[in-house]
Symmetry: C2
Subunit: 199 residues, 2 copies
DNA sequence: AATATAACAGAACGAGCGTTCTAGTATGAT
DNA sequence: ATCATACTAGAACGCTCGTTCTGTTATATT
């Protein structure tokens, strides 16, 4: 009954997300988002209400597209410590693959550090994100326990891994070079090794 | 030979720093800084050149005033693991003492996540900050080694502690509640316990 | 084919941004 | 006491911000 939308929502969200991810919420202007998406201002406002609405859609798009990259293997993998090692390898890959298309660090960590104290939406989303990450680590550590790779405890170690991931994302966004990032990841890998029982 | 300054530089820096710390670089406007410091616009521009100059002075003020709070005991304390435990207690205190006067988290971590990829000054300052923190952890762990509290290794564990601190600062700024913060710190405390050799 | 509907492009809005300018003022050196 | 200096307050600058408005265009239904 009316003219159909000319743009693909996912494509637009991907472009807007990349801009917000790279520049942050305040530094990315609506004009920047118009340029990045190639969609007119009025169309963006029609589809997402306002800048914050587009931001929320981008955060959801990020959670739906990026979280599954690690959640599956970590939470429901078939191994234990190796699944966590694979997660760390994933993070190591981030630093070498960083480009204009895929900024470094993590959108949720970036924007929650920027706006977490004043923006309930991003605060809640970041809390969910950490909860999901912690839950996934606990699952992987529980499998490691059942496989006889490690002993107790599980929970405290999962919290440490959450902090490690949050720290890595923060340091990535802070502009650390590849050498430092790799050194930090190696530290976490050695931590995993130290948890493993002698074979 | 000329009219002397009416404001005290440290007092002004403390007020400006608090505002930038709480709101971030982009969200804190020059008008906000004028209001917070009580100093006129022209005076601020006379003394600090521009907004970024005032920001740099605030970062230096933060590094000079806040870093010594943990650096001394951690780098040159007389104990080992207990000095690291004291550092964690310091962080635990931060979450309960947060007020308008002293925002939560860490100014350097907040602004380096916000601007680290584009602002060389904050990137370098954040790198120095992590290097100093890592060096302090290595010193404390070395003392713990000499005291017979722990065995090798030192370096990888120091990196893990740096990540833990960065992660805590990130989560603090993300608006996590006291319960979660405490749970994460307990995780790190248990990690320290697990490094200690049986007495 | 005619109509109703909504997306489209781009101009325009007031508000706020960082910065500069215009005066006026208070002080140390002569 | 006079002068040079650099502080002070506040108005004003051009610019960009997020948002809204004005037509125009394209499609699904009748």
């Amino acid at each position: 009954m009316a003219r159909p939308r000319e743009f693909d929502t996912d494509t637009v969200l991907e472009a807007a997300m990349t801009t917000l991810w790279r520049d942050g919420y305040e530094s990315a202007s609506v004009s920047d988002l118009v340029d990045a998406t190639g969609v007119g201002r009025a169309s963006l406002y029609n589809a997402f209400d306002d800048k914050h609405g587009l931001f929320e859609a981008c955060l959801r798009h990020y959670a739906e597209g990026r979280v599954p990259l690690w959640r599956g293997q970590l939470a429901e993998g078939e191994r234990g410590l190796d699944d966590i090692r694979a997660f760390l390898s994933l993070l190591r890959g981030v630093v070498t693959e960083s480009s204009e298309a895929a900024p470094t660090g993590c959108l949720i960590v970036n924007t929650s550090v920027e706006r977490g104290s004043t923006d309930p939406f991003v605060r809640d989303m970041a809390a969910d994100y950490r909860e999901e990450l912690g839950s996934a680590f606990r699952a992987a550590l529980s499998r490691a326990l059942e496989l006889g790779e490690i002993d107790e405890p599980i929970d405290g170690r999962a919290e440490v891994l959450v902090l490690g991931a949050m720290g890595l994302f923060a340091v990535l966004s802070a502009g650390a070079d590849a050498t430092e990032i790799n050194r930090l990841i190696v530290g976490l890998e050695h931590l995993l090794d130290s948890w493993a029982k002698p074979a």
